[in-house]
Symmetry: C2
Subunit: 328 residues, 2 copies
């Protein structure tokens, strides 16, 4: 069962939660963190952990998970190349094109399939982690042509065993989507927090739910937010331009006619559509089509990408047969 | 005890909650709504309600509360002038300068003191209301020169009895502050919801906490959001320009140097400062200065405005003596 061995490099909120969740699902797990204090805490919790990446990679049959922030990926990859050049490799980094490019350049022989669990809290670090962090969360599994279908199935299986559902996507599509629904929200939260603070003590005394919710993720660790936003530069620029255009149009309309109908109405309809997407997952009266994709078929990745593009989710995996749900 | 009679014009979320909260606090309450269905529901709940504004205003000793959206204020005021021209008058509308101007023009003999409880949910209507909606919320009481100190004390007393604390502010200061911490958040939520939806089904499938929180208030009824944002046009334009400037600067920095340090760091510090303000209210280790303002003194309103500007809150009222708390 050595293909059920997991080596998690980096034991912050996501890596630490993955270590716990995979352990609970029956994987043999080993974690690596540079900090001796973190390693001690992980061992105290009963897990195998080391501060030596060489030791961590000694079992070269393990599925290796890069769970470090994007800027650290280029430091870790040469070590992977030295100690486990042909390993099965995935990651949990919040952008996918830069990681794929770094892997192709620095660890070209590894069998890499990217991953991104869309879970988190504004807390961070090992202590904030939980075996249930991924329950009900989407977990993107990279589905560009060239990915190894066997590794794809193992990464998807890991995600499912952690309680997530799998969303198949190519790296570019992933990065464009998360720029809009994750990185832009962080940037707007930072801008809103600053504009509010500029209003002084009275404004802070009057801030209620809309400000609290709209600025919540500005409480996240700045270096983590920077790493993910700066790492997705091109896609984020497009999303920011869209936001600037829409906010500028609202400004123009308010200044000229005094009206905000178009902006408010479009936002309301968009949020209601989003609510429908979320509620569908919980509403058993909504019709859901189930389709199956055979990972052994030559166009499996293209099929999966296409389904992911339509909002489908992989909810089960039996051998090489993926069970995919798509709202009708 | 006729000065303990409250007449609430408009029985939506805020007016309906006020009717319940004031009743629970021992006021004699009467509500008015145009919709016969709403009046029936209010009566079924055991309250005195009418669809006739003439009947509602028959007791001309009542403290009258305008609890209608801003655009309806100009329709209601002529009726107040006809049936209770000298009444004690307040309101719960989310902007203060336009209401004050409308009252001065249409109901000049009324003893008007503006109000704005900063409470709400994305739900609306009588059924969504609750006697505890105002618990722990800031309730702005208009403190411009010329306000009647007796009525000021009665409005502040009503707010305190509903479980809120009172923040004294002039109308212009109030409108500038809420543009930043309430109206801009609604506009950014609408923009973010639209930019996310433009990302298609994949983006919606990947949206998690940051998008959910950042767009929550886009679920509010569009006509209510429009009424409050459009009603605060000048102050909102200034806040939008601040946001556009900051988002544009972030865009420029990301495009040129690839960095977002200034934006993310400033937002993080602002959010942490806001957390401190919020936590102070609950943290009994923080030093709080208590000062008293005598409503009978000639500069009482100026004192109160100044304290409100510093983030102070009125937490008690004995006779004409206001107890004010200010974080040291």
């Amino acid at each position: 069962m050595s293909d059920r061995t997991l080596c998690v490099i980096g034991l912050g909120l996501i890596g630490g939660s993955l270590l716990r969740a995979a352990d609970a699902a029956g994987w043999k797990v080993r974690g690596m963190a540079r900090s001796a204090a973190v390693v001690a805490a992980v061992r105290d919790a009963g897990f195998d952990a080391t501060s030596s990446i060489e030791d961590a990679l000694a079992d070269d049959d393990a599925l290796v998970v890069l769970a470090v922030p994007l800027p650290a990926v280029v430091d870790v990859l040469p070590m992977v190349t030295r100690h486990a050049p042909y390993c099965r490799l995935t990651d949990v980094v919040s952008v996918k094109q830069p990681v794929a490019a770094a892997v192709a350049r620095r660890t070209p022989a590894a069998r890499y399939v990217g991953g991104h669990p869309m879970a988190g809290t504004s807390a961070s670090g090992w202590a904030a982690g939980s075996a249930t962090l991924f329950t009900g969360a989407p977990w993107v599994v990279g589905s560009d042509d060239g990915a190894d279908p066997v590794v794809w199935g193992q990464v998807a299986g890991l995600a499912l065993e952690c309680g997530a559902h799998v969303v198949p996507a190519g790296a570019a599509d992933h990065d464009a989507a998360v720029a809009r629904v994750s990185h832009l929200p962080h940037l707007l939260a930072a801008v809103l927090a600053s504009v509010g603070a500029d209003g002084g003590s009275l404004a802070m005394a009057l801030a209620a739910g809309s400000f609290t919710d709209g600025t919540r993720v500005a409480g996240s660790r700045p270096e983590l937010v920077r790493a993910m936003c700066e790492g997705n530069r091109d896609a984020l620029l497009a999303a920011v331009d869209d936001a600037l255009g829409r906010l500028g149009a609202a400004r123009g309309s308010l200044a000229s006619t005094g009206g905000l109908t178009a902006t408010i109405q479009a936002g309301h309809l968009a949020r209601r559509a989003f609510d429908t997407v979320r509620d569908t997952a919980r509403d058993n009266t909504v019709h859901i089509d189930t389709v199956y994709v055979e990972l052994g078929s030559p166009d499996a990745l293209a099929q999966l990408r296409d389904l992911g593009h339509q909002g489908a989710r992989v909810v089960g995996l039996e051998g090489t047969r993926c069970q995919v749900e798509l709202t009708a």
